[in-house]
């Protein structure tokens, strides 16, 4: 396989030996692959701990070069409806694998996003096509997967990587990319990535484009400027009572970044906690966020609804 220019892809482990963390899971899965007898599996765990990577490794190991033909990769958060299960998945599952006796693999990523109808539609599919296909489902919270599906799968719970494992990953990247990660930068990386390896590698790559020496300062600078500040400024402007200015800024931001009303409300709701206002007012505003989010769905004009929300911030300080 060709190396990608995106590091999360370039440094994605290609074999079980390279895989960091999740030892127990690797042990079980690699023996399954060795015996060429794999089950339907459910990988659950926080983002960036290797769920998708492990599924890909299984495919490489089983099919070698023809892994692409024999694996269907679907991301449920992009295709979440029932017709995906009924059409794309069934069509793929129906036929036999190419160049091997093994069943094909269907990787359904971010399964928590599947509607429960779609999950139910999956039940029979998993059984009916067990001759030709195996499913690997991944999710952040296994509680969002209906029980009948869970009972058809071997469940593997992935854990956050510990510092030592993360350090090994960083060292490996630093060596290959010829960059220098300062001592204090390690802690900063653990801190901002919260154990999410993909996030961490993304940050390392963007830092390295600025400087070959990665420092704590650089990391924090980059991370904070990656976060959109506009919403905070809009809220501050409203608190100051400059409503007209705030709403102009809001419109500008939505247009510039192509954000929907829902995107904006989500950010406002997060930002409320950081405002310098009383707890009583915070909870009042959260209540308003909920109400306006509801009206946004029911109403005709998202901007009017967002303005109505902003108006609640005016004069609170």
């Amino acid at each position: 396989m060709q190396d990608s220019s995106i590091w999360t892809e370039k440094f994605r482990p290609k074999g079980f030996e390279e895989f960091k963390g999740q030892e127990k899971i690797i042990e079980r899965v690699s023996s399954m692959v060795k015996n060429r007898n794999i089950q339907n599996m459910l990988f659950s765990g926080p983002p960036g701990v290797g769920k998708t990577t492990l599924a890909l490794i299984i495919a490489y190991k089983l099919y070698g070069d023809s892994w692409r033909q024999n694996m269907l990769e679907l991301n449920a958060s992009d295709n979440r409806g029932i017709d995906v299960v009924r059409t794309i998945i069934k069509d793929f599952a129906r036929t036999k694998a190419i160049g091997t006796d093994l069943p094909k693999i269907i990787l359904l990523d971010e399964c928590d996003a599947l509607t429960s109808e779609a999950q139910h539609a999956l039940r029979r599919t998993m059984e009916d096509f067990s001759n030709t296909s195996r499913f690997i489902l991944s999710c952040n919270y296994s509680s969002k997967i209906i029980e009948p599906i869970q009972s058809r799968c071997a469940v593997f719970r992935f854990k956050l990587l510990n510092k030592k494992e993360l350090e090994e990953i960083i060292d490996n990247i630093a060596k290959k990319e010829k960059i220098k990660v300062e001592n204090d930068a390690f802690n900063a990386l653990f801190d901002v990535s919260e154990g999410d390896v993909r996030k961490m590698i993304n940050i390392i790559q963007s830092c390295s484009s600025v400087s070959k020496a990665i420092t704590e300062k650089l990391i924090y600078e980059l991370v904070s400027s990656a976060q959109p500040k506009e919403i905070k400024e809009i809220l501050d402007t409203s608190l100051k009572g400059e409503f007209i200015k705030a709403r102009e800024r809001l419109l500008e931001t939505m247009l510039k970044h192509g954000l929907s009303g829902l995107d904006i409300i989500k950010q406002i709701q997060k930002e409320v906690w950081n405002l310098k206002i009383s707890d009583e007012n915070k909870i009042k505003l959260i209540d308003k966020c909920g109400e306006i989010e509801f009206r946004l769905v029911e109403g005709s004009d998202e901007f009017i609804q967002l303005e109505a929300l902003l108006a609640n911030f005016v004069g609170l300080r």
Partner: protein
């Protein structure tokens, strides 16, 4: 007895009241049609001031043959093409020159006259005979595309003095005794609408030979500018009165709901939205917007469910603004600067670009579009800003605009 509006309908150009300048331009357009850059002329102005009768007076005088397509007939694509096609092909009986007159342009219905606007647009492009179009709603976006292809000619409002003089002349011809102040009242009440003033005059004369006072004449309401309605609404402190004001308002509900917005920006809703923070104190702003927001919820429900009874609530809730005391009434009312439709286009352009970028990446990165936009895209911007994006751009086949977009994040 004949109606004044028929009896005094001008047959010749010099009988038309108060539009000398406009008629000169119109005649010039028709007579020098071959030299015109634009192949049609669109006359506009409020109703009853003489647009249609000017066109007819001119056509009569020039002795043209006229094809009149007005809102009383179906004007969809097939019919326009068929009728106009026939009219052009037929050899005029008396060798007269021909002219097409499309009256009441705003009355072309999007549904029943499906394709009508498009057909007219094509007609204007290929026509070899003069086309006159008329409307009293020049701001209507429905025929924006036609407007661009037309010479525009505004028929000015008739002022009161002209109306009074005309009414006087008629009274004299009809041998009716009158008081001038009564005629003035009629003229004032009709606000420049000549046709309406003739109807009112005849109504008051009531077959007698004298003109009584105007006490029982109904006030003629005209389409009130949204601006005035908003101004009145802010002034109003009484709920019932504010409903009355709103009854005259154009609260448009068409087009679908969507992310930023898109409806007629002249709709009263947007006028209020724009001016609310100017008219209401900060401390009452949340309360005022709450009414607007709830009203919008009903608007959304009407659009989705086509349950038009909700219109009542949509209107009544806006009226709630009158319950706010201490409003600031002395400010300049501004038109919404959101320009809803345009903004929507801009918005969807940007958000579509974001999605296509996400599509290019997410498949090869084994991640969802959502996750890419949330986590990877903000980091990519640094690499792109440092101009170290060459490999990435090649690998993911990014277009130039997409690269620019990522840099600007």
């Amino acid at each position: 007895m004949s109606l004044f509006i028929n009896k005094y309908n001008p047959k010749k150009v010099n009988e038309v009241i108060g539009h000398d300048l406009e008629l000169e331009k119109l005649a010039n357009f028709v007579l020098n049609y071959k030299k015109q850059k634009k192949k049609a002329i669109l006359i506009h102005g409020r109703s009853g001031i003489g647009k249609t009768c000017s066109a007819y007076a001119l056509v009569n005088e020039l002795n043209f043959e006229i094809l009149d397509l007005n809102a009383s007939e179906i004007r969809n694509k097939e019919i326009i093409n068929y009728v106009v096609g026939n009219f052009m092909k037929q050899f005029s009986l008396f060798g007269k020159e021909k002219l097409i007159f499309i009256d009441e342009l705003e009355g072309i219905s999007g549904y029943q006259d499906y394709g009508g606007i498009q057909a007219l647009q094509e007609l204007i492009e290929i026509s070899i005979i003069p086309i006159i179009l008329a409307t009293n709603d020049i701001g209507n976006e429905k025929f924006e595309s036609i407007k661009k292809k037309c010479e525009l000619l505004e028929f000015k409002n008739l002022d009161k003095d002209i109306l009074v003089r005309h009414l006087e002349n008629i009274c004299k011809k009809e041998k009716i005794s009158y008081k001038k102040n009564v005629l003035e009242k009629i003229a004032e009440n009709c606000n420049g609408d000549l046709r309406a003033s003739l109807i009112d005059l005849q109504l008051l004369i009531n077959n007698k030979k004298e003109l009584v006072d105007t006490d029982f004449i109904e006030k003629r309401l005209q389409d009130i500018d949204s601006r005035d309605i908003v101004a009145q609404l802010f002034k109003e402190n009484d709920l019932v009165n504010s409903f009355r004001v709103l009854d005259n308002a154009n609260i448009n509900i068409y087009n679908g709901p969507g992310p930023v917005i898109f409806s007629d920006e002249d709709s009263i809703l947007y006028w209020i939205e724009e001016n609310l923070p100017r008219g209401v104190d900060n401390k009452d702003l949340a309360k005022a917007y709450n009414y607007l927001s709830k009203s919008d919820v009903f608007r959304g429900r009407i659009i989705r469910q086509q349950y038009w009874r909700f219109l009542v609530y949509q209107k009544l809730l806006i009226g709630g603004i009158s319950t706010i005391k201490n409003k600031n009434i002395d400010f300049e009312h501004k038109k919404t600067r959101r320009s809803p439709k345009q903004n929507f286009l801009l918005w969807s352009l940007v958000s579509r670009r974001k999605t296509t970028i996400a599509e290019k990446f997410s498949k090869n990165l084994h991640t969802s579009k959502k996750d890419f936009i949330k986590n990877t895209l903000p980091n990519l911007k640094f690499i792109f800003k440092q101009n170290k994006h060459k490999d990435i751009a090649e690998e993911f086949k990014l277009e130039k605009e997409e690269i620019e977009y990522i840099k600007k994040q």
